[in-house]
């Protein structure tokens, strides 16, 4: 028996449309209307400003630990903006910009990171799953959603987010495999930001790209410049359209970079060089998109102030949230509370009446000069 080469051969594409020097590949430029471009640009600015504001709130002790998105705005918004409201969005834990695009009220996100479970509740009818903290565990859910959409004969597409580190988890591979076998309308968006906390990509996988992993599961995989919102949009548009047309799943690898800390409890100086961060700052997704918008004469005056006001109003609403009622901790655990929990609830109510239970944490405790112990300690 001879050794033969199996057909077909595989290939992985790399897509870049607007590079960090501002060069545009006009032939590949997606056809976005001025309004669409303005909306995308506004969302990118909002994503950045909100992120910076949240870091400050966390430093003041008003939020707990969270995962900043700085540098990943294009990966998130280029992809999520291809969805319809009837499509599904399945986030991991670093998708603030994408979640806001999908209509999560900012104050709700703030509440979530202030330790209020209420912040995890999607709006009525909103086809977005809540934040999933355990890495990669949300990916099979996306495949199940896509299967159900197909089963019901609806043309909903599912977009699922995850990181480079997540590609090491079994759940990720199992989800990709099921999606391939079932040929369901799901788009996997991997934000390869080069790091999983302190572990660089080269210690995470021996593959040259993450995109090529798709090939083993029988689906197309494409690597895009994740800091190029136009390239991300173009790749996602294609994948979403294909999924909607019944042509199955796609894996998109967005090559990007986490410019900030892993979470607000992390100290990146421990594991990565300042020069690397500097190098990626040159590729900031906002800088090049701003230049593009300027060239198209689409920049609006006062946009940053507008966005800051929107954020400030949301922060005000967040801070006006009354302290949580501890008794509601039993809500939503079951459709109907079983007797032993009714008893536990009554016993807690009695302690609260008698003043024996501690006060809950208020949403906006007095700012502290130094972070609380827990914040320094708590890492994801």
């Amino acid at each position: 028996m001879p050794r033969t080469v199996l057909e077909p051969r595989f290939q992985v594409e790399y897509l870049s449309i607007l590079d960090s020097e501002g060069h545009l590949d006009a032939a590949l430029e997606p056809k976005l209307s001025p309004d669409e471009l303005r909306a995308l640009y506004r969302a990118m600015i909002l994503g950045r400003r909100l992120d910076e504001r949240m870091v400050r709130l966390q430093r003041q002790g008003r939020l707990g630990t969270f995962a900043p998105i700085k540098g990943q705005e294009a990966s998130q918004l280029g992809s999520v903006s291809t969805l319809r409201p009837t499509d599904w969005m399945v986030p991991s834990f670093r998708e603030t910009a994408a979640m806001v695009w999908r209509g999560w009220p900012i104050e709700k996100l703030l509440l979530f990171f202030a330790g209020y479970v209420e912040g995890g509740q999607p709006g009525e009818g909103q086809r977005d799953l809540p934040i999933a903290v355990p890495v990669a565990t949300q990916l099979p859910h996306a495949v199940g959603l896509a299967y159900a959409a197909q089963y019901r004969g609806e043309d909903a597409v599912v977009m699922a987010y995850f990181g480079d580190g997540a590609t090491s988890e079994g759940d990720c591979h199992e989800a990709l495999n099921f999606a391939g076998v079932w040929h369901v309308p799901v788009v996997f968006v991997c934000q390869n930001n080069q790091w999983a906390i302190s572990v660089p990509l080269k210690k995470q996988t021996h593959s040259k790209t993450i995109a090529q992993k798709a090939l083993a599961y029988g689906m197309p995989g494409i690597q895009v410049d994740g800091n190029d919102v136009l390239a991300v949009y173009a790749a996602a548009r294609e994948a979403v359209d294909r999924a909607r047309a019944g042509e199955g799943p796609t894996l998109i690898e967005c090559v990007t970079y986490r410019l900030g800390v892993h979470t607000t409890a992390d100290d990146p100086t421990k594991y990565r060089a300042e020069e690397e961060v500097k190098m990626w700052e040159q590729k900031d997704p906002l800088t090049r998109f701003t230049a593009y918008m300027r060239q198209k004469s689409l920049l609006e005056d006062g946009l940053e102030q507008q966005v800051d006001e929107e954020i400030a109003l949301a922060v005000e609403r967040f801070e006006a949230t009354p302290p949580p009622d501890p008794l509601t901790m039993f809500d939503h655990l079951y459709a109907e509370l079983p007797p032993h929990l009714v008893a536990q609830r009554e016993e807690l109510a009695r302690r609260l009446r008698e003043g024996g239970a501690p006060e809950p944490d208020a949403p906006a405790p007095t700012p502290r000069a130094t972070p609380m112990r827990g914040q320094r300690l708590t890492r994801r």
Binding site: F66, I197, S198, P360
Partner: protein, 326 residues
């Protein structure tokens, strides 16, 4: 003697065990360059190299699964799971294999390994970063389950766990990591796994606690002494499984009353096993039903509501008073 916090004390145990035994290896997420997200493995990669302190890819199942293979070969892996909330990703490896190889191979192989994980609340953290899941491991035959309460016993028990021929799941309370410093002897020290300690002697009532709840029980004992003139005996379990029933029963046989405190949800938690053990061993000495003070049976409440969920001194004192008044 030097005073160390629990992070430093655990780090010392790891360092000394690695010096003592070249078969000891560490693997887990971010344990190398970063020194672990809580710095428990700080500097160990620099001292022992990346072959012995391994920054693994992000996959708990493979951390434990490859740990099993290393242990079967004869190494002594110390696996770190970054947070106990993410150990469900490797639960099948722990239950299906870590706990069973000795039995399955009829003594030919064993998993002499340690699985370390931070657990528990009180640190204003997100979902899966505040839970207490010791009951799952305590329930698995073939495993040992250890939870230290302070720097010195943490250090001594971790060293004992590494030398133990059987697999040990080792929980470290995040709230205790930096809570207090304690004298820790410079030369290596072990405490026996499977033995509880009497943290405070008393004749009127027994408070059983472990991990971060030991402090709560101790403070409750102070309040009872000061306000009620009651002498509470406080037991620090240190090992959840195998449970030191002898020490618990001896104490309750003396006091006739017991309150068990834990951060894990109440139902089917360690308190149930402890109460049953007291019933079996000291029924005729009991003056009152055994009480449990535990978290409610809710999976996650968010840190804004956490204080109303986790046992505090007032709840333990109230339960003790009801027990005394029974």
């Amino acid at each position: 003697m030097t005073k160390l916090n629990m992070v430093k004390a655990l780090n010392l145990a790891l360092f000394q065990e690695m010096e003592r035994d070249p078969d000891v290896v560490i693997l887990g997420e971010d344990v190398g360059v970063d020194g672990g997200v809580f710095r428990v493995t700080d500097d160990l990669q620099r001292k022992f190299g990346s072959q012995r302190v391994i920054d693994s890819p992000l996959a708990e199942a493979a951390i434990i699964g490859t740990g099993v293979g290393m242990a079967l070969y004869g190494l002594r892996p110390v696996c770190e799971i970054q947070f106990s909330g993410f150990a469900f990703q490797c639960f099948h490896q722990i239950e299906n294999h870590v706990a069973r190889y000795r039995l399955r191979s009829q003594g030919r192989f064993a998993c002499s390994m340690v699985i370390r994980m931070p657990y528990g609340g009180g640190v204003r953290a997100l979902e899966h970063h505040t839970e207490s899941e010791e009951q799952f491991y305590a329930h698995i035959p073939g495993l040992k389950m250890v939870i230290p309460s302070g720097p010195r016993n943490a250090r001594a028990l971790l060293a004992a766990a590494i030398r133990d021929p059987d697999p040990v799941v080792f929980f470290e309370s995040k709230a205790l990591y930096h809570a207090a410093k304690e004298e820790v002897p410079p030369e290596s020290e072990t405490f026996p796994i499977g033995r509880a300690q009497v943290a405070r002697e008393g004749g009127d009532l027994t408070l059983v606690a472990y991990g971060a709840m030991l402090r709560v029980a101790r403070e409750a004992a102070d309040v009872l002494q000061a306000e009620d003139g009651v002498a509470a005996e406080v037991l620090d379990l240190l090992t959840i499984s195998p449970l030191d029933r002898e020490t618990i029963v001896a104490s309750v046989a003396k006091t006739g009353r017991a309150v068990v405190v834990h951060e894990a949800p109440r139902s089917f938690g360690p308190g149930a096993e402890i109460a049953a053990s007291i019933m079996e061993g000291a029924f005729l000495r009991l003056e009152a039903p055994v009480r449990r003070v535990a978290a409610h049976d809710v999976s996650f409440v968010g840190f804004a509501r956490e204080k109303a969920n986790v046992p505090d001194v007032a709840r333990v004192v109230a339960a003790a008073r009801e027990t005394l008044a029974f």
